[in-house]
Amino acid sequence: MTTFEAILLTIVTASTPLLIAALGELVTERSGVLNLGVEGMMVMGAACSFAAAVTFDSTLLGVAAGMLAGALMAALFALLVLGFAANQTGSGLALTILGLGLSGLIGAPFVGARRDPVAPVDIPGLSDIPIIGRLFFEQDLFVYASILLTVLVGLYLMRTRSGLTLRSIGENHTSANALGLPVWRVRFWAILFGGACAGLAGAYLALVYTRFWSPGMTAGRGWIALALVVFAAWRPGWVLVGAYIFGAATVLQLHAQAAQFGVPSQVLSAVPYLATIIALLLLSIRHGRAIGAPGSLGVPFVPDR
């Protein structure tokens, strides 16, 4: 494998958790709910998946535990913002603070443990194609799953009846309620889906990307996933593109640090964060406002009974 190929491979690995988490958040936001707790759900997913994977020596159980942890956190959020019509921004922040603390508790006994790499799934024949072969056809299952998920989310939103209902509720919950669409139920599942995705993204970080647990290991990826949704104008295809651009930025700065260009490592470490700000800025300059934002995004829903 050449260095170039290796870099491309790591880009895919770095992009996948961003993609998965952002897709989940995209569905949540399309239903009209802004969950700022992605970082918290993701880090919980990482801690729980790693703890379960080490305890039971099973990657599969680890992944399941990660998704469950994310979904449970999301359920807590749903209780607050749907049940109590609580402030969504505040609740999301609280979820992040809680997740960072709780994951530290759960992960504490597992600091220092390591997991073996997850074996890539080789698609015979295709993976022998030079350069792109290994890039596209010799990845771990999660990578394929994340691409499939992008397609499925896109198809679900634009081609199914249930997706239409979800978009309508996100667009205008008052109208949706007047038509008798189940605003609460749809939002509840959308929030849960977002949580499970964030949990899965966390699991991927802990079990595939780093293969160890360290407190706060998500390092702002949840927030970048949130930014990606805005950047993608709430469209799954653009989330894919955005996730890979950010993944590439992250990996390239790591390689640049290793290469020691004489640029302080901190400057390079700041690249993903600065890139997020610049991406949001460019988007706003081009469109003047958040294009494609669901009409009811972030607005608490209190029906007139």
Binding site: R161, E171, N177
Partner: protein, 515 residues
């Protein structure tokens, strides 16, 4: 009634003793109502009489506190609009339940129960449009459509479910007179096919045009069920309002003097994604007169208001002159200081902060007057001003200094109008002054506007209610797609002429068959 009444003579829908309580307010009080098959039944009443509450109960949007609904003699519980539709009830809301960013076909599909694919919807849409003359383009996004077209979507949504009862809540409030006539034809045809229609309105004329039976609500109760064609307009009005309706006094001498407001060639791009641009608007209001701006909702009224109030600034100061001062580039507060006052359309959230007390709400437009000194609020002064508004404008409030949201629509509107008039402005600009306001408050507000003008101020009233403009305005113009028709004395306008201007066909052809 129509020919195809079932032999049993059983009513299609019967409401028995329906009540709905919101806290201390009894919005519906023991309402009985029956609708025959194929009948167009009117539900008449002033704003706040409980009409909307009643139909929302019938459609399953809200639950009644007490009472029974019978469908063909069978008691039914309607727990949600989905259940209502399954029972054959369809409803066209006053505020459309549409989704701006979705297409016409998507908007229709999402409201249908069962498995409707977009292609089936498209097909059916074509059929229905043809049969009832409801032209619609399936792939257009809602925000590009006019109010009339939006209403068609609502109607088509209902018709696709083959309803037995179609409920329409104030359907003509967003239509031009011609569009309204077109709607009536559609309704007549539906009724002839055996579909019952419950028609909610506060306009007598159209009820007499459409219905043989009308149930009149007042204060949440049924006061009478009558044949509207057999009763005089005055009788019906008296039943609706409770006591004889007074007319607005406009008899005071009217000697318009110099121009208080002059708008010259005002052009403005749309503010938001779906806004309306203003195109070359010219307008003048003289001291002592009321100028009316008519138009169907969404034709640039709120944009015009924003431009006149300074919530949006013009490019050149000279575009808008208030009291002779070029003010186009002044902010709203600066315009207030040169003698202008403003009342926007939306009460809760725009002219008033719902969760703030009335005295705090006074600060909103009085900030630079006696209620503050060097940046500090003089709360006692604000309370005094609020009290005097409450007294002078007959605002009925809960005790003390209540939050704005605790006032009824009519009382809050009296408060915000009073808040501006008490400042004795030289120019008052009001957007939809009596929208959703009960008859008594509407009368008081209109009188206050006329009185202010007669005392020497210029008043500009932007309104969708033509009757209101004919009542208060001295001169009037019509706004259509961001363009303003010439300003003419009220006597030179007829309703038909206004309707043609609303459709934008007045100069183009002068024809009558607009649609």
């Amino acid at each position: 009634m129509k020919a195809d009444v079932p032999p049993s003579g059983q009513p299609l829908v019967e409401l028995k003793g329906i009540s709905k309580r919101y806290g201390d307010l009894l919005a519906n009080d023991g309402i009985n109502l029956s609708i025959e098959p194929g009948e167009i039944h009117a539900l008449l009443g002033e704003n706040g009489a409980g009409k909307s509450t009643l139909v929302k109960i019938l459609y399953g949007v809200i639950e009644p506190s007490a009472g029974e609904i019978r469908l063909e003699g069978r008691p039914v519980t309607i727990g949600s609009p989905v259940e209502a539709r399954a029972l054959g009830l369809g409803m066209v809301f006053q505020h459309f339940s549409l989704f701006d960013e979705l297409t016409v076909a998507e908007n229709i599909a999402v409201a249908l129960s069962g498995d409707w694919s977009l292609s089936t919807v498209r097909e059916k849409l074509g059929e229905i449009s043809g049969t009832y003359g409801l032209a619609l383009d399936a792939d257009r996004a809602i925000w590009t459509l006019s109010a009339g077209e939006r209403q068609r979507i609502e109607i088509v949504r209902c018709l696709l479910q083959n309803p037995r009862l179609l409920i329409l809540d104030e359907p003509t409030s967003v239509l031009t007179p011609q569009e309204a006539e077109h709607l009536f034809t559609t309704l007549d045809r539906l009724s002839a096919e055996g579909c019952s229609i419950l028609y909610i309105s506060h306009k007598l004329e159209e009820v007499r045009r459409l219905c043989r039976r009308a149930t009149i609500l007042r204060g949440g109760r049924v006061v009478a069920t009558i044949d509207p064609r057999a009763s005089s307009a005055r009788e019906i009005a008296a039943l609706m309002v409770g006591n004889a309706v007074g007319d607005i006094r406009t008899d005071a001498p009217h000697h318009p003097q110099g121009e208080t407001l002059r708008v010259s060639n005002l052009t403005m791009p749309p503010a938001g994604l779906h806004g309306q641009a203003l195109r070359d608007i010219n307008l003048a209001a003289r001291a002592g007169e009321v100028v009316g701006i008519a138009g169907v909702a969404g034709n640039g009224q709120s944009e015009l208001f924003a431009a006149l109030s300074g919530e949006r600034l013009a490019d050149h100061a000279e575009t808008i002159a208030i009291n002779g001062k070029p003010s186009g580039t002044m902010g709203i507060d600066a315009r207030r200081r040169v003698g202008a006052a403003f009342v926007p359309e939306e009460r809760l959230g725009h002219s008033a902060a719902p969760t703030h007390s009335l005295s705090e709400n006074t600060l909103i437009s009085h900030a630079s007057t006696e209620v503050s000194r060097s940046g500090f609020i003089l709360m006692n002064a604000a309370k005094r001003v609020a009290r005097s508004i409450v007294q002078s404008f007959d605002v009925r409030t809960p005790e003390g200094d209540p939050q704005a949201r605790k006032l009824s629509g009519g009382n809050l509107q009296k408060f915000v109008i009073g808040r501006e008039i008490i400042r004795r402005p030289k120019l008052l600009i009001v957007d939809q002054p009596t929208w959703g306001v009960d008859a008594g408050a509407a009368r008081l507000i209109r009188q206050a506007l006329v009185d202010l003008a007669r005392e020497g101020s210029a008043v500009v009233v932007i309104s969708q209610d033509l009757d209101e403009l004919f009542e208060v305005a001295d001169r009037m113009a019509v706004i259509h797609q961001g363009t303003l028709s010439p300003l003419r004395p009220i006597g030179e306008w007829t309703k038909e002429a206004v309707g043609l201007e609303m459709l934008g066909v007045a100069q183009a052809e002068g024809g009558v068959h607009a649609i």
